[in-house]
Amino acid sequence: MGRNLRILTLLLPLSLLLTLSGCFETDNPPQLEVSVIDQDSLPVPDAYVTLFTSQQEWRQLENPVQAWRRTGLEGQVLFIDLKETTYWIYCRKGDQDNSFDEITTQGDLKLNQRAHVVVHLR
């Protein structure tokens, strides 16, 4: 049994190392929560929201960084897995949007940060 126990003591930590590898992350990518409200400051559900990394792309509605997200009942949507950069935000519901209001994050987003932005539709 002595040799068997030695085999066991070798195999068990090895399997543990293999299985636990890749389970842990150190930093979380930045997140951005967008609240969409109307002219009466009421939350707008089912509004389409997306993000751009430059003013030009925001104006042309080209190359969004992620797929469109839609706001929930409380008029909010959360973007995760973002980069440490500045984002331009575009929202639309029906014929209302924020194309006249250039809305960006306050500077570059940071790791482990959840920024919050409010957008008015008109």
Binding site: M1, L18, C23, Y48, Q66, A67, W68, R70
Partner: protein, 424 residues
């Protein structure tokens, strides 16, 4: 055109069929199943067995320090060869439970100069049905009670217990002949094994609605599992097993492109959803061991495998059709895990070959198949059908009326250590 998901499902079926075929081949190689057996007259077999055992008893009781060497040769001739193993009840100093017939007959006069009296109880004898061995030879197992009495080194030996004698005979043209002893052993009562297994595997997270959707391609990912278990055999074949294992599953789902919606085109194509799970699972089921050769066994196992999810991760990427660069994190789904159950019940089956390295240690290699029985979760999304191609919902999980199932096929490598063996 078939979706990859459907192709993979078909592959899964092919793998299942191959496993069954492999099992059939192995069973076919097992003596006793490969040959159509004749109609046996068990009374005739019993008579042949009793004649051989009576002869064995007679010769055995003539062996002593002053016996004619011809008696020893006649004793050896009762066996199929001099190396046949029999129960070691004469050499108490030896750690070995079995010795060869050759050693037995040479040790017996030394240890028991006045002889060792053997008495078989022929009134209670149990004979198995013959199993085909090779070249018209058949083997039967005979269970009976024996008693031994003798004096060795001034100490009396007197014991009585059951033994199992393996006897071979030739059967040709309806006649039985050539009765020989192929082994004498204590009948195994139970065996307990500690098993340690590592299993690299191909796994997938199957969603039934995605599986049938041609626009989605499901790609299995390389996972692994490792764990320890206990296997308890109530006799030399049948038993149960219980274990704990740490398993990692991953797979990818790809979509050609996200559709424009709401007046916007996301310009994202070759979308890839990659999901990973880490589970602790507790497989519990039945085990069946088949002896293929002297040091080679096959082990079949099947049962249920409840599991608890410990960790999970979800990543996404897509190619921007304007810049042609691949972007990561294109699907923002912070609640993707909320709809999934932490508990998962699955079915497993395994087929392993056990190669006996030492008396108590065997090397194992085989295949194992795990399939989810319960859904990992489902979320009612009334507009899922319209929105899934737009990236608004994670198509792996956010589908109504369909199950998300784990499935994996792995290669198992491990060791089985016999930690206990009880004999009658």
């Amino acid at each position: 055109m078939l979706g990859k998901g459907r192709v993979l499902a078909k592959r899964g079926m092919v793998v299942c069929k191959l496993s069954v075929l492999l099992l059939a081949v192995m069973l076919g190689a097992h003596p006793g199943i490969s040959q159509e057996l004749p109609e046996w007259k068990m009374d005739s077999i019993r008579l042949g067995v009793k004649n051989l055992l009576n002869h064995y008893q007679l010769i055995h009781n003539q062996i002593n320090a002053t016996a004619d060497p011809a008696i020893e040769r006649e004793f050896i001739n009762l066996f199929s060869n001099p190396k046949v193993l029999i129960v070691n009840e004469i050499d108490q100093d030896s750690p070995s439970q079995e010795i060869s017939a050759q050693n037995y007959v040479s040790l017996l006069p030394t240890l028991f100069p006045e002889g060792l009296t053997l008495d078989f109880n022929m009134n209670r004898i149990l004979v198995s049905r013959p199993k085909y061995d090779f070249n018209n030879r058949y083997l039967v197992n005979v269970w009976l009670e024996q008693s031994l009495m003798g004096i060795s080194k001034g100490k009396a030996l007197a014991n009585r217990h059951r033994i199992v004698v393996t006897i071979g005979f030739n059967f040709l043209d309806g006649k039985m002949s050539g009765w020989e002893i192929w082994g004498i052993a204590l009948p195994p009562k139970s065996q307990t094994y500690l098993t340690v297994k590592l299993s690299p595997s191909l796994g997938s997270l199957v969603n039934q609605s995605v599986d049938q959707d041609e626009r989605f391609n499901l790609e299995p990912g390389l996972g692994y599992a490792g764990g320890v278990g206990l296997m308890y055999l109530i006799n030399s074949h049948l038993g149960g097993q219980l274990g704990i294992r740490y398993a990692h599953y991953q797979s990818s789902l790809t979509l050609d492109h996200l559709d424009p919606h709401g007046g916007f085109d996301p310009h994202l194509e070759q979308v890839n959803y990659h999901t990973r799970f880490w589970f602790v699972e507790m497989p519990i089921g039945a085990a069946y061991k088949i002896t293929l050769a002297r040091r080679l066994n096959a082990l079949l196992g099947a049962g249920i495998s409840p599991g608890v999810r410990l960790f999970e991760s979800f990543t996404s990427s897509a190619v921007n059709s304007n810049s042609r660069s691949r972007q990561t994190g294109v699907i923002s789904d912070s609640q993707w895990i909320d709809g999934l159950t932490r508990f998962n019940l699955g079915f497993y089956s395994e087929l392993s070959i056990m190669w006996q390295l030492r008396q108590n240690t065997a090397f194992m290699i085989g295949v194992d198949f795990h399939h989810g029985l319960t859904s990992l979760g489902e979320v009612e999304q009334p507009d899922y059908v319209n929105s899934r191609y737009q990236g608004l919902y994670n198509p792996i999980w956010r589908s109504p009326d369909s199950n998300n199932l784990l499935r994996s096929l792995g290669i198992t490598i491990g060791v089985a250590i016999q930690i206990e063996s009880k004999k009658e």
